[in-house]
């Protein structure tokens, strides 16, 4: 009896069962006639399962023993092992949080009553996506990993094409499908190579492989391409902006907040297999990371579509995480324990932080789309008046993502800066110091991008009739946003506690480093930050209260923004987002190639004219699309073989048979 109870209460079992329950949550809705109950059931189930899975994941994170399960699956790929070590448990945290929050958000954002045709599939695949990611991080068999990976990729595709009657959605889906399967192809190579080296499809134990032979280089390359394509590291990011922009908002939150991290998890996991990684791995990761961060945010600045901007900023954040990981690998290779510790801690913490503020912003964008009916920033304006709560939450998310002190984005970036500057007096790797100004530039551009986003959406006066009468989001939408805001504040206020959360995963990733470094030293520094942040928050609260008090005492009149008493002001006189960001974009014009159609003005009294801009997807439009059409043209002759004449098809077979017979002679 006792053992049964213990078996049920085992946190690993709880976490796995929670994952499976989330996966099944959408099934009843598929068979229910009336819309509504199915979605409600799925949301309740998902939230309850997450509430069970979250503490389980936390216990597992701090538990010294790793529970291992062996699935008896009868397939010829060796035993199918599932295990939850601290690294897996760490990645389980955002999965459960974002899954529950997004599911609640869907009640308000995609209500079954208004979206009868699509809601069932959406709810079903949403659960499948969350469950597949939770199981993915526990998989320890290469073949099983690939299967779950494929389920994840496909369910994300079905979520993405929810509004498949729109042409651009279908196009985004196709690009995503091609990109993800290119990545999967690299993963097949990766797991075959790993199986060749270790002799079975079971993933090798930590530190069991040597990084020296040329095979390891191949493994590293396949890892970078396969997992990098999912994570959206720079040259492999092409699918990301359009996919995130066209999915329903809570799905974008899930994809950006969690699914991209699965790519990173793959990279982390594969790197644990090797002891003594060569210096070049860290360099590649660092360079790819910092260039993703810089270019990602540069693209974000140029966007007009709110969700595209957020998607590009995801590329930036993934870049920052990858930079941290690269720096950590450099630290391991050069036996510089503090550098490795700081890089890894910053990277892991940023993973957690990004999965708090990015879903917050994507959910916020969903609320905005509901209110304004468009994703186009240049058509909005003045929404803060109609939806003050959403505006406040969105503002906090924007501050957090820019890495500005009182919030969590600052903490993880601070650890990275700390790591870079720790190299000033070092004998080797001095050039890492140069990363600090680059990261600062990224942060600055992020401020530009999010100022553009926030000001053109929430401030000023409405630029189109659609945005003129916004309505505040309902409870189901505000509640998850509030939860993420709270988490952002919490990590910002108590960074030393967040560092404790990261420590076990770090320990399992590089035990030799964790043994040398004294985390208390850094926790102390973060404690100072915590004090500073607390002071800052108190000042902000005090100023706000003071302002309220002042406003409450005097008479308040409301007028259009920048009205200044002028009666005939028009919303078209405002700056739009594009004009705000024009200077910043022009600096990067070589890469971004923003196409602006400028009006031609002639004469003393020029007639009415208009100006349009379109940011281009440089890599996709300039390099990859031409390559694809080149391939299409050069293989056009093959299409002539497929002409629809049945008997000629028969002749093909006949001729093949005949040639084989002649050849046998």
């Amino acid at each position: 009896m006792f053992s049964v109870l213990q078996g049920v209460c085992d946190p690993a079992v709880v976490a796995l069962v929670a994952a499976l329950v989330i996966g099944c949550a959408g099934i009843p809705g598929l068979f229910l006639r009336s819309p509504g109950p199915g979605q409600m059931f799925a949301t309740c189930t998902t939230i309850l399962a997450s509430l069970a899975g979250l503490p389980a994941a936390l216990i597992l994170l701090f538990s010294p023993v790793t529970t291992t399960f062996i699935l008896d699956w009868g397939l010829p790929f060796g035993p199918c092992e599932l295990a939850i070590d601290p690294l897996s448990a760490f990645f389980l945290l955002p999965i459960f949080i974002v899954a529950a929050a997004g599911s609640l958000f869907a009640l308000g954002y995609w209500p079954a009553k208004e979206h009868r045709a699509t809601e069932r599939g959406l709810t079903f695949f949403y659960g499948i996506l969350a469950a597949s990611m939770a199981i993915l991080v526990t998989a320890r068999n290469g073949a099983f990993f690939l299967m779950v990976w494929e389920i994840m990729a496909l369910s994300a595709y079905f979520l993405l094409v929810t509004e498949h009657e729109r042409e651009d959605v279908r196009r985004a889906g196709t690009v995503y499908l091609i990109a993800t399967h290119t990545g999967s192809a690299a993963l097949y190579v990766l797991f075959s190579l790993l199986a060749a080296q270790s002799g079975s499809f079971l993933l090798p134990a930590a530190g069991s492989l040597s990084a020296l032979p040329p095979l390891a280089m191949m493994i590293a390359m396949a890892t970078f391409i396969g997992f990098g394509a999912k994570a959206g590291i720079m040259p492999l990011h092409i699918w990301l902006p359009s996919a995130h922009a066209n999915a329903p908002s809570h799905v974008s939150a899930m994809m950006s907040g969690v699914m991209l991290k699965m790519g990173l998890y793959g990279i982390f996991r594969t790197l644990t297999f090797f002891h003594d990684p060569p210096l070049i791995w860290g360099m590649v990761l660092t360079v790819a990371g910092i260039s993703s961060a810089l270019l990602g945010i540069a693209f974000a600045v140029a966007q007009r579509d709110m969700k595209r901007l957020l998607a590009c900023s995801s590329i930036e954040n993934i870049g920052i995480i990858t930079t941290g990981l690269g720096v950590a690998m450099l630290g391991i290779s050069s036996h510089n324990a503090p550098l490795a510790y700081l890089g890894m801690a910053g990277s892991l913490l940023h993973i957690l932080n990004h999965s708090f503020f990015k879903p917050l912003l994507f959910l916020g964008s969903g609320a905005i789309i509901h209110a304004a009916g468009t994703r186009e920033m240049n058509l909005m304006g003045g929404l803060a008046k109609g939806m003050p709560r959403s505006a406040l939450l969105f503002l906090i998310g924007s501050v957090a993502i820019c890495g500005i002190p009182p919030l969590n984005g600052f903490v993880s970036e601070f650890l990275l800066y700390f790591g870079f500057f720790s190299q000033i007096q070092a004998s080797s790797l001095v050039y890492l110091v140069l990363l600090a100004p680059l990261l600062a530039l990224v942060g600055g551009l992020a401020v530009v991008a999010f100022t553009k986003l926030y000001s053109s959406v929430f401030l000023g006066t409405p630029r189109s009739p659609g945005a003129a009468h916004p309505h505040e989001a309902g409870f189901a939408m505000l509640c998850p946003m509030g939860l993420f805001t709270l988490l952002c504040l919490l990590v910002g206020l108590l960074p030393q506690q967040a560092l404790r959360l990261v420590a076990p995963a770090l320990q399992s990733f590089m035990p030799q480093v964790a043994a040398v470094v004294n985390p208390a030293e850094y926790a102390f520094v973060l404690g100072r930050i915590s004090l500073m942040v607390l002071t800052l928050v108190l000042i902000v609260v005090a100023v706000t209260l003071l302002w309220w008090w002042r406003v409450g005492r005097s008479r308040v009149t409301s007028a259009p923004t920048w009205g200044c008493g002028y009666q005939r002001g028009t919303a078209r006189m405002q700056y739009v987002g594009t004009s705000f960001s024009e200077l910043a974009v022009s600096v990067f014009n070589g890469i971004i190639r923003q196409r602006v159609k400028r009006p031609v003005l002639s004469g003393l009294f020029p007639g009415s004219s208009h100006c349009a801009d379109k940011p281009s997807e440089t890599l996709l439009e300039r390099i990859i699309a031409p390559l694809f059409s080149l391939a299409g043209v050069s293989f056009a002759f093959l299409r002539r073989l497929q002409h629809g004449q049945m008997h000629v098809y028969m002749i093909y077979i006949f001729a093949t048979l005949f040639i084989l017979m002649l050849w046998a002679h």
Binding site: M646, H647, M650
Partner: protein
């Protein structure tokens, strides 16, 4: 008994030429049915008696000699066509090509590294020749029903080859092969039905309009 089997195989080869040379669909269906019946008798001549063998023979006779011809006859009647006019290649050239292919398959079979007990018999060359004939019918005829006939002849060729292994084949495999044939015919029947409904003719060359541009 083996010499008798060889004589039956000669009959099979002759029926091949009937299938190649006739334009009347009913007649070629009957010819292929006769070929199937002969092939059904053949295992009885070359293998010792067993109930397993009896079962297989009965199944072959019923399927090839009765069920499939019935299905095809019904298709011909409902489609209201009697003849294959305007094949892609005329009847005389196809007959000549059939002769060439038959000769070639004898030449080819002579070169194959066969077991000594199979070398002096006609099983392998007859099988090749029938297979080639099936292909010829498939590639040169226009009507969907002729193509089903071609498929049946092709299948018969494969069956002759399988006779060499009949003792080794378990009953399940043979039953499976027969079922395969029956299902294949059914599928083709459905295809025929759809072609005639969609294009109001059984001309498979019209299928090119299905091609994706």
């Amino acid at each position: 008994m083996i010499t008798l089997a060889d004589q039956f195989l000669v009959l099979v080869l002759l029926i091949n030429f009937v299938a190649l040379g006739t334009s009347r669909l009913i007649f070629s269906i009957r010819a292929v049915a006769a070929q199937g019946v002969i092939l059904g008798i053949l295992p009885a001549l070359i293998h010792p008696f067993s109930w397993h063998l009896v079962g297989i023979i009965l199944m072959i006779l019923v399927t090839k000699g009765f069920v499939i011809p019935l299905l095809l006859n019904r298709a011909v009647r409902s489609a209201e066509i009697k003849r294959e006019v305007e094949p892609f290649l005329g009847y005389v050239p196809t007959l000549l090509m059939g002769a060439v292919f038959t000769a070639l398959s004898f030449a080819f079979a002579g070169k194959l590294p066969l077991l000594p007990e199979h070398q002096n018999y006609m099983f392998v060359p007859a099988s090749m020749a029938t297979l080639m004939t099936g292909f010829l019918v498939l590639t040169t005829r226009r009507k969907a029903i002729s193509q089903v006939i071609g498929y049946l002849v092709l299948e018969n060729g494969i069956f002759i080859f399988g006779l060499l292994l009949a003792e080794a084949l378990p009953v399940m495999v043979e039953a499976g092969a027969l079922l395969d044939l029956l299902v294949g015919t059914f599928v083709m029947g459905i295809v025929i039905n759809h072609i005639s409904r969609e294009f109001s003719s059984l001309d498979t060359s019209r299928l090119t309009s299905l091609k994706e541009e």
